[in-house]
Amino acid sequence: MINKIKNKVTPVVMIGPATFWLILFLLIPLFLVIGISFLQRNGYGGVDMVFSLQAYFDMLTPEYLKIFIASFRLSVATTVICLLIGYPFAYVIAHSSEKAKPFLVLLLMLPFWINSMIRIYGWNTLLRSSGIINNVLISLGVVDVPLEMLYTDGAVLLGMVYDLLPFTVLPIYTSIEKLDPTLLEAASDLGATKLHRLVRVVLPLTMPGIFAGSIQTFIPSLGLFYISDMMGGAKTMYVGNLIKNQFMSARNWPMGAALAILLIVITLVLMRLYTKVGSLDDMV
């Protein structure tokens, strides 16, 4: 009897705090954002309690579409570069000796322990006109005037790739690790060179990892704003910056909220795709 009550009570006690936490800090803000997106802005940086779809209509104007396209291109470029660098990276880690492996994985995780904004600031000190790289180049006589490296689109891309690479590598690494080594032996046995083995066996079988890595890179890349702020000097506007600006400087809360919802919807769609492909994993 007591056990029965215990069985009923325990789960509630156990999840209670977490549920409370989620409601307080996730659900309520989310509903606030949804609500605000359907209100009318007033001239003083606040909102009037009047229903309006204005924010959503505004998103369809050319200026905003341009920003979406720029964001999308940056995210795609980031994801592609992360894949190109990340796959060989993951492959090397997965095929390193049992002793070296934990150490290499640790190196990969290490950046997570330092605030990402601080790390990006590190890049800032490297790349700026009076930064370390320019100083070295000038003192070596390679260049006369400092190179314009910071505050370019290239710098933003560099920052994004740097920041998100671990998210690409980890799922790929996991899928390569999971690969049955006898399949590789079978491929060699049947005459495949190392390259062919990679193309015909390893790549197709690690597709789920590639897909997961792409999505885990693409989703956060859409919303990151501080990288383009700190490394791009906010020259090119991306969705992330846009949302931040709507709330902080332009004071158009409904617009900021509507844009945030757009990002959430895109993320949900991609997550759905991701879980679908995740189940493909079992088939392979």
Binding site: L183, E185, A186, S188, D189, H196, R200, V284
Partner: protein, 392 residues
């Protein structure tokens, strides 16, 4: 023995060490062109390791492997004219049956039309018609096995290596596949090196069997030789059922040895032995005979303990006076002995085999412990200990 030209795979003093432990020891083996050779031995005796060295997945620690007279030390697996059927099948899960089978031909850049033709032919050969588009995940163990065999055979390798290919199949399917594989091998004339721990399978399929124990090849020969003339106690015990008896020679009468066992006296035919030698003999269950009356030269007496029905024969267990149990295979129409009755056990003198002499045993023990003894001696004879060890 065999013509040098006939040898297709030759292993010379091959050894393999993992972390300082030898798992294959001084292996010398000549595989002849077109034969079905089986590596037989208990799990962990080094069969897979041997096969992997031939395939090129694993390097030899020392020794040489030759394929068609050519040392293959520097050849990678994809450069060796051998193919492997893996125990786990190792089919490519993202490819259907056709693509799996075609894998090797695509690597060889065989024209598309020819690939199609040969794949179809192979699918017919292994009776997989209608399953061309199936993925491995959608097939039974037996079907996957056929795909694995077809995928290896389509490359027309000089040698096909098979690592317990039927291990995962149920008994009935395994028996059927044994025959099919054997017929396939005869039909194609490809050399098979087949690994199994199942002695019955080895006896059924092989032209020759190499029996391995703990990294050492103890005997190689035809199934008949290995079964009827096992050279060591291990082979006698591992291949087929056997009753092994310890005895010593009491009298030599030309080629006939009068021997004495703990449980009585017996006679056996074996040339070249001396009086008072200790020997182990092996008698197969089907060669043991039971009688109510004492036979000349035999005085082994035992009690019937039980009868075990085993299909075409009845296995009768006889307990000797020293507690050793012998298994006797008898036909159902032979004279029936009731459980509990006392009988005499005897055999035809030529049907008992000497598998182990005591000299051999001592030699093996010495060989096995020599290193350890030397190590211990080394410690003892170190400068500080030298004085006292001299006294011993």
């Amino acid at each position: 023995m065999s013509n040098v030209k006939d040898v297709i795979v030759k292993l010379t003093d091959v050894e393999k060490e993992f972390d300082g432990v030898k798992v294959v020891k001084k292996l010398n083996l000549e595989v002849r062109k077109g034969e079905f050779l089986t590596l037989l031995g208990p799990s962990g005796c080094g069969k897979t390791t041997t096969l992997r060295m031939i395939a090129g997945f694993s390097n030899v620690t020392s020794g040489e492997i030759e394929l068609e007279g050519r040392n293959v030390a520097d050849l990678k697996p994809n450069e060796r004219d051998v193919n492997t059927v893996f125990q786990s099948y190792a089919l490519f899960p993202h490819m259907n049956v056709e693509d799996n089978i075609a894998f090797g031909l695509v690597e060889k850049k065989v024209p598309k039309a020819e690939i199609k033709e040969r794949v179809a032919e192979m699918i017919k050969l292994v009776q997989l018609e209608g399953l061309e588009k199936r993925r491995p995940a959608q097939m039974s163990g037996g079907q996957k096995q056929r795909v694995a065999i077809a995928r290896a055979l389509i490359n027309r390798p000089k040698v096909l290596l098979l690592d317990e290919p039927l291990g995962a199949l149920d008994l009935k399917l395994r028996k059927q596949m044994q025959l099919e594989l054997k017929h396939l091998q005869q039909k194609l004339g490809i050399t098979f090196i087949y690994v199994t721990h199942d002695q019955e399978e080895a006896l059924t399929m092989s032209d020759r069997i190499a029996v391995m124990n703990d990294g050492v090849m103890e005997q190689i020969g035809t199934p008949d030789e290995v079964y009827n003339r096992p050279k060591t106690k291990f082979v006698a015990g591992f291949v087929g059922e056997s009753n092994i008896l310890e005895s010593y020679v009491t009298q030599v009468d030309e080629d006939l040895l009068h021997i004495s066992l703990e449980s009585g006296k017996a006679l056996l035919h074996a040339p070249g032995f001396k009086n008072e030698e200790m020997i182990y003999i092996c008698v197969r269950p089907e060669n043991l005979l039971l009688s109510e009356t004492k036979k000349e030269h035999f005085s082994i007496r035992g009690r019937i303990v039980e009868h075990v029905f085993a299909g075409s024969v009845i296995k009768t267990v006889v307990e000797l006076i020293n507690g050793q149990k012998l298994r006797v295979a008898r036909h159902p129409n032979e004279e029936e002995f009731e459980v509990g009755t006392y009988v005499y056990v005897y055999w035809h003198p030529k049907k008992a085999i000497i598998v182990h002499t005591v000299e051999e045993q001592i030699y093996n023990v010495i060989e096995g412990t020599t290193n350890r003894i030397y190590e211990q001696l080394g410690e003892k004879y170190s400068p500080s200990a030298r004085e006292d060890s001299h006294d011993q």
